[in-house]
Subunit: 253 residues, 2 copies
Amino acid sequence: MIKVTIIGSGNVAQHLINVFLASAQIELVQVFARKKESVLHLLDFDKIVTAYTDLKEADLYILAVSDGAISTVSSQLPFVNKLVVHTSGNASITALDDKNRKGVFYPLQTFSKNKPIDFSVIPICLETENPTDFQLIDKVAKSISTAVFTINSQQRKALHVAAVFVNNFTNHLYQIGQDICEEHQIPFGILMPLIQETAQKIKTLSPQDAQTGPARRHDETTIQSHENFLTHDNQILIYKILTQSIQNHGKKL
Amino acid sequence: MIKVTIIGSGNVAQHLINVFLASAQIELVQVFARKKESVLHLLDFDKIVTAYTDLKEADLYILAVSDGAISTVSSQLPFVNKLVVHTSGNASITALDDKNRKGVFYPLQTFSKNKPIDFSVIPICLETENPTDFQLIDKVAKSISTAVFTINSQQRKALHVAAVFVNNFTNHLYQIGQDICEEHQIPFGILMPLIQETAQKIKTLSPQDAQTGPARRHDETTIQSHENFLTHDNQILIYKILTQSIQNHGKKL
Ligand SMILES: NC(=O)c1ccc[n+]([C@@H]2O[C@H](COP(=O)([O-])OP(=O)(O)OC[C@H]3O[C@@H](n4cnc5c(N)ncnc54)[C@H](OP(=O)(O)O)[C@@H]3O)[C@@H](O)[C@H]2O)c1
Ligand SMILES: NC(=O)c1ccc[n+]([C@@H]2O[C@H](COP(=O)([O-])OP(=O)(O)OC[C@H]3O[C@@H](n4cnc5c(N)ncnc54)[C@H](OP(=O)(O)O)[C@@H]3O)[C@@H](O)[C@H]2O)c1
């Protein structure tokens, strides 16, 4: 059994706690939480520590804390030469304090505390400074997921930016869809099958082949009628910019 | 049995042909196709006509032709006082020629010829000029879908614009995600679970509650580092505009 300790008690920490507790290959040694209550519903009281000095020996320490806290927390750890990884898509491996061996264990998914998730299909992006450490976190990752990737810090950053487009920005387009519906007394649910099909399509078609609509068809009459129909400057601006981007796509890349 | 004839042989026509052939309440009388070959794989040779003068009596004529052809085609029909509907999200009911009774039968989904679709969950948006005609197309719609809505031309236009945001524009964000991945030698498939989860989340959370990411957190350090990381002006522009839009959302609405 590989001994793993988790530092942090937020979204990612809680999902990792659940999945490690269910894994036969992992022994979850301890969880560090600033407030015990935050993870008490998940594991035994005596496995939760609130002081770094109470941390016991483990093969791997996973820092699932806010990006901005990675440096501070990793420098506060009371031991040296252990393997310490963070779970951030955006932070470099060098954000971790030099006194321990460094690595990254980045699960590429959007987590919400109360929404259970099937971890086995979540891509886990790994990076370490040396091959032995890689072998270890690779084993840990493969014990919980079938989608494990070697991704360096530069690629991870690219993935994180790409994730903002396909996740955060896409969700904002759903928001605009909802705003337009509400403005015209239409239930947002009517768009749900379209939203789902748009995401499903991309499983079998490339985004290039799946692209449809007035922008792609260069249907200027419809584009103009849509822009005239919209009443919020912000929505008009986004409509124009994304229409242009679809029309110019491929020209410059 | 309600007698239905379809005019057109494109994406929407082909899906409607399939679903009507399978319906016990509908008799598909004929299909008008400019080229017989385009629908020969779907139905009997003698049900396909290529001249409007060969059209037989039916309770309902569904014009599934390009938006720009609705006016011309409806004026070329060799009969009067019949019920003729179009299937467009964008065209007004008045695009149809006055010589027949007008209506709209708009299936709110993105269709591709070769991708089968479960019609029973597709929202169908109905509009007619009089209640008797409404009853008829309502019956037809309910024979193939459980999601039938009364939507006037103004609302339908709003839905069509909203659909551009949640479908065409979302797909373009997937495209940008793929472009960023390719630039950094990362397989696009790694983003697939995130794309699917983003669409799934919206089934149980409102877009407002599902919104995460640096823009929502006002995490200016990450936003700046993403903008510096991107190398295409177009991607930077979209990043800025959508980040701003997320940050301002709710302020003006
Ligand atoms: N959420 C996602 O979808 C997701 C996906 C992939 C990767 N990640 C990455 O995973 C990491 C954690 O994200 P998260 O979503 O789990 O965040 P979160 O829910 O906000 O939780 C952050 C955790 O960090 C702790 N923390 C913050 N500052 C601290 C400090 N100075 N000392 C000690 N602990 C501190 C918090 O403790 P308190 O609760 O006591 O404040 C909390 O337990 C981040 O690097 C994030 O980028 C997140
Ligand atoms: N595709 C979608 O996802 C979708 C979803 C909802 C609603 N709609 C609406 O449904 C309608 C049809 O769309 P579609 O996607 O099926 O289009 P499509 O695949 O491009 O097919 C267009 C059809 O219109 C015919 N046509 C074009 N000009 C014509 C003319 N002057 N005379 C006779 N026939 C003509 C075409 O015939 P030829 O093949 O001989 O050129 C073809 O059969 C449009 O109003 C569209 O807005 C589409």
